[in-house]
């Protein structure tokens, strides 16, 4: 009897979870489905669950930049350059700071950590106007470097918090002995501690990359044509001779790929990454 009841519970639990996963994935399936359809088929009624004649035309249009101010994979390559550079810089500055915070024994260490994290909570809409005015004066509008600086500032608190946890998990004695052996502080950091947190660097880097790749508001305000990124390409399909759903979804797939890959690679660290590394998980 109890065994029967256990079986029923299992069936109900997995049945409901299947429903949840169906709801989570159906819109994503529909994005892929639409991107593979021809123009005539996209708005067919009733909708086709599987494209009758799958085509890559929409992807070709996105790459050709049809109706866009830029051709080729310019938007995607801008995204790649900006996200990669800002990730590397925030990893460098962030892990230095994280290491210092993890080793500095003072009440100010905790306060500084909190202050650093608090800068991430400010709404981007509040900083975007003054940053725009600053960058206009510095001639950084529509330059890669402008967007890179904005994303470094955006990702630094996150990287610092995530790496602080990883450094705190390493026993300080290891570095002590390296220092006794004559290593400088920076040398002990570089040769002893940093190699030990390599997995942490990878996870923090992945999240920082995806955050920069996905960001919209700063990209909208700080770029025009030359350094516009993928989210802007998607948004501009709205303006082109009505809505081009197929191309928009093809661009949406390109924009979503890093996040989906991240979900599979960083499985164990998803909670930590999504909560700014603030909560143990």
């Amino acid at each position: 009897m109890t065994r029967y009841k256990g079986l029923v519970t299992t069936v109900v639990v997995y049945g409901l979870l299947a429903l949840v996963i169906g709801t989570a994935l159906l819109p994503i399936y529909w994005m892929v489905n639409t991107a593979l359809k021809s123009k005539g088929e996209i708005l067919s009624s009733p909708p086709h669950w599987i494209p009758a004649k799958p085509t890559l035309d929409n992807f070709r249009e996105v790459i050709a930049g049809e109706g866009m101010s830029q051709g080729g994979l310019k938007y995607a390559s801008n995204s790649l350059v900006v996200a990669t550079a800002s990730t590397l810089i925030s990893l460098a500055l962030g892990s230095l700071a994280a290491y210092g915070l993890a080793r500095w024994k003072s009440k100010w260490s905790e306060r500084t950590s909190m202050w650093i994290l608090s800068t991430r909570m400010f709404p981007p809409a509040a900083t975007v106007i003054p940053v725009y005015l600053m960058f206009a004066k510095l001639h950084l509008i529509d330059k890669h470097i402008g967007l890179i600086i904005a994303y470094v500032a955006y990702n630094l608190p996150f990287v610092t918090w995530m790496m602080r946890g990883f450094f705190a998990a390493i026993p300080a004695e290891l570095e002590e002995s390296a220092r006794v052996e004559g290593c400088s502080n920076l040398g002990a950091f570089w040769r002893v501690s940093l190699p030990l947190v390599r997995p942490g660097l990878a996870v923090a880097g992945l999240f920082a990359f995806v955050f920069a790749w996905n960001e919209f508001l700063f990209a909208l305000v700080l770029t025009r044509i030359d350094s516009a990124t993928i989210p802007l390409q998607m948004a501009s399909y709205q303006g082109v001779k009505g809505l081009i759903w197929g191309s928009m979804m093809a661009a949406a797939i390109i924009a979503s790929l890093p996040g989906i890959i991240l979900a599979f690679i960083a499985q164990k660290h998803l909670v930590r990454g999504l909560t700014l590394g603030a909560v143990k998980g």
Partner: protein, 305 residues
Amino acid sequence: MKSPPSVVLICKGLGMQRVLIRRQQATWVGFILPCILVLLAFVIFPLVYSLSLSFTDRTLTFPTYGFIGLGNFSELIHSSEARQTLLNTVMLVLGAVGAELALGLLIATLLHRATRGQSLLVTLIAIPSLIAPTAVGAIWKLLMQPGGLSNYIIGFLGFNPLDWFGNPSLSLLSIMVADIWQWTPFVSLILLAGLTSIDPTLYEAADVDGAGPLQRFRYITLPGLQTTFIFALLFRSIDVMRFMDKIWMMTRGGPGISSQTAPVFIYREGFRFFRVGYSSAASWSILLMIMVLTTLLFRFLKDNT
């Protein structure tokens, strides 16, 4: 360069240890400094700059501008558009975060029970929270357009099709649905982490005492989840007050201003109507509200990490 241990001992003997420790502390500050400088230059300075702009009538079109005191703020208070925007923001926070917490709790409980294949299930469920918010907006714009899949399903279930983006009383709801789809996975994952950290012996003890499933939920699960729950509530509320990407993709705040929230208002005033002074005043108003939530969140983090 080896410094023999005896040197360290001599230093200690001479009472130099303190000096060494102090020098060491200065080094740690040196490690942290570059990060602090970047944040001061590109987050704190812009915010201070924005505060000073909020007392001026500066625009992007006229080169001259002047100090107008609290003029922008009093205009905000008397503007019916600003009031509607605030109301929309509050409704979006209540609706979206409320639904995300309720559904998240349900899904977390299910995941907690599903011990077999849990990590794969978690990964699949997490995907909506990781893809680009603009893509989320684009997908839901496609699904909710008049001839789209959502109306096909609604019709299939025997209801009348909905004009999500044309009907002012539905537009904010459409944003809410997209946000709930995107962030419920994240909320379920942190609640799952909270559930996993509850001591299983508590449940065993409750079984011995003959507690039913409802009582176990009420007296063990809920109190055990309180911290995680409040964290998720504050964290999501702050985020819903900040995002604009999905709204920009789906409705641009329309029709009219029916789905306009604070960030859209700030962006439009600043970059469509070029009133950067007024827009800065609006951003500082919403900033103060977010600061209250952030302070609560941090008090919470401090006590519970």
